[in-house]
Symmetry: C2
Subunit: 410 residues, 2 copies
Amino acid sequence: MKKDIHRLMEERKIDVAIVEGPDGMDSTNPAFAYMTGGQHLVGSVIIKRGEKPIVLFRSMERDAAAATGHEAINMDRWPTHEIVQKFPNPLDARVELYKRIIGDLKLKGRIAFYGTGSIGSHFAFLRGLQPGLNGSEIIGEYDRDIFQVARETKDPDEIARLEKHGKETCAVIGEAVEFIRSHKVKSETLVTKDGTPLTIGKAKEFIRLESARRGLVMGEDFIFALGRDGATGHSVGNPDDPIQLGKSIVFDFFPRDANGYFHDVTRTFCFGHAPKEIEKIYHQVMDCFQTVVKQFKVGETTQKYQHMTCDIFEKHGHTTQRSDPKSQSGYFHSLGHGLGLEVHEQPYFSTFGPPRSTLQPGMVFTVEPGLYYPEKGYGVRIEDTYYCDAKGQFHSITPFPQDLVIPMKG
Amino acid sequence: MKKDIHRLMEERKIDVAIVEGPDGMDSTNPAFAYMTGGQHLVGSVIIKRGEKPIVLFRSMERDAAAATGHEAINMDRWPTHEIVQKFPNPLDARVELYKRIIGDLKLKGRIAFYGTGSIGSHFAFLRGLQPGLNGSEIIGEYDRDIFQVARETKDPDEIARLEKHGKETCAVIGEAVEFIRSHKVKSETLVTKDGTPLTIGKAKEFIRLESARRGLVMGEDFIFALGRDGATGHSVGNPDDPIQLGKSIVFDFFPRDANGYFHDVTRTFCFGHAPKEIEKIYHQVMDCFQTVVKQFKVGETTQKYQHMTCDIFEKHGHTTQRSDPKSQSGYFHSLGHGLGLEVHEQPYFSTFGPPRSTLQPGMVFTVEPGLYYPEKGYGVRIEDTYYCDAKGQFHSITPFPQDLVIPMKG
């Protein structure tokens, strides 16, 4: 939670945290969004350990800067126009500007940079900045940085937001299911009013529109994939595929809300009826899902549940990521991932390496066991978003049935 | 254009370009999208100078990797699971993995990194990677990197895509204008069928929905801002403001298409009628717009046109960024910016510092003079997207009238 940031800075001996908010990154700059409340601006957030954050902003975004609630300093305090005349090389000019900011704001000690931006240009910039800072040190945290760890547990406001967003997300799924099952069927293929097949593309169009109507943002394409496409993991689906009775569809949906928070849910559907072999693996996936979520306990490593999932699937004779890390069938991913301002964030449920996270109150993460057989033309994944409340109880915040078979209307 | 990449590598003595495609960045990783054709995958694109690109991918995204058309190498060629067991520190594990990739693919010399990602973790990673590379050097390009310069001029396919997308964007604006002007008016305020005021929020909702219907993506909020909010530059507008006759609205709209290419257009509207003072500055902005676009000529610096704009506005008595870089009224930004896979990219039209770009065939950029008087409660900006064809002729690809006053229907 946000209140942990100063403690984490203390533990890691970080004196100053600078979160960069470059142009064009808004929705993919979670640390910056976290510190600005999702306001759209180009600038930086500077935190001296133990002090209140400062936002550096440009005049055109003064309203957004004010809305962050932090102390806001207009970048025009530093004469960029003079600096770029004096330092014709843009890198030199940027280094000079930051030296002045660091000097004027008395930033000293171990200065860590965060935020999202161009990898190469920031590498050049930070390397160029280091020599001129007598005594201070520029650092980058590689893994589980202070913002990632703070964001790993959500405060009550964030939980309320995520719960509300889960309901909206499920409402879209409900509308999509009703839309599809209302179609007529002609020799096992769903057909629209004009007699043409209902395709994956048309269903996705409906979902996109319904999302927009409810203010949900789909920055990236979502997965709505038929048969074999649902069995590779991340194929988004072929728009031209006609939807047919008894064929499995993997619908993995992860919209953002207006504040930048994600929900993540997957359902696997067969319209009308399901083939026996798909039903069989669906029941194995559901069984795994229910067994695992019952065992969630504060203090246990996330990795324990990934191994539990592998145990269950291996017992049924499936290959897992653990038994064959190269396998492209069976169970080949991890049980889940945290989500919030990123669709994938801490905690992770990794198979290999040392355990990195333990379950804690305030955590929000997905539970998504799946089994995939591309060569047989089907995959099944069931995913809910879970959260752990202050008492250590785990709840799904994805209020939508997990049924495989969706009966057609009439 | 893409064909320039190897020449740029040669000129800059870059032996290998590695474009990183980390998780969660798709729509904000232009260099990676440029090299993968917008396919959604987590991985890297590696270009040895003079050779064809290679894509590193993970199994779950093998379809997307194949669709890039490049040679594709599955990351499971390297035993990540063994590496993370042997190197429990995640940074050490990542460095080890890349050392193996660099060794196996025989990457040597000056190795430059590109792409978008976490600033801090990539700084730590690239710094950690350097020592183990006997003889090779890790570099980052700060400014106008090879991909930015290649992307600064568009090839005919990209132009066709951008022109089509301009038409779709303008179609949404047309629908929005028709929607608004069809409302009834009650004491100067537009009202909906249920008698409540038509607000900025309701108009934006209509625009979002119409965008989704046409497959346009609004990753970020757009500007639809009334009166004073339209005069700060980047305020997105207050959703509760009722739309009133004779009040100016700045509508700055920059959707992406399905391939990640942007359009960018601004119109300033007064519904019903416009006050004399807004009409006056509108005509000054239009006059400036038309004067400047007539002068565009291949080989001239973009900066020349920014100065031309300042000349025109200063002659009318307005403060400009050039006459007072701190001013928050008058003309306080630059004339335009390139656009393509980013909404702001090369070329820029900067006021200060040495000129960086000259106009060239294939360039696509905005032309957006504006005048702003927040203390008087209005701002006017008019923006079209322009392109320069192979013959050096400049054309608007924003087919929508630039009128200020939109008469109400009936």
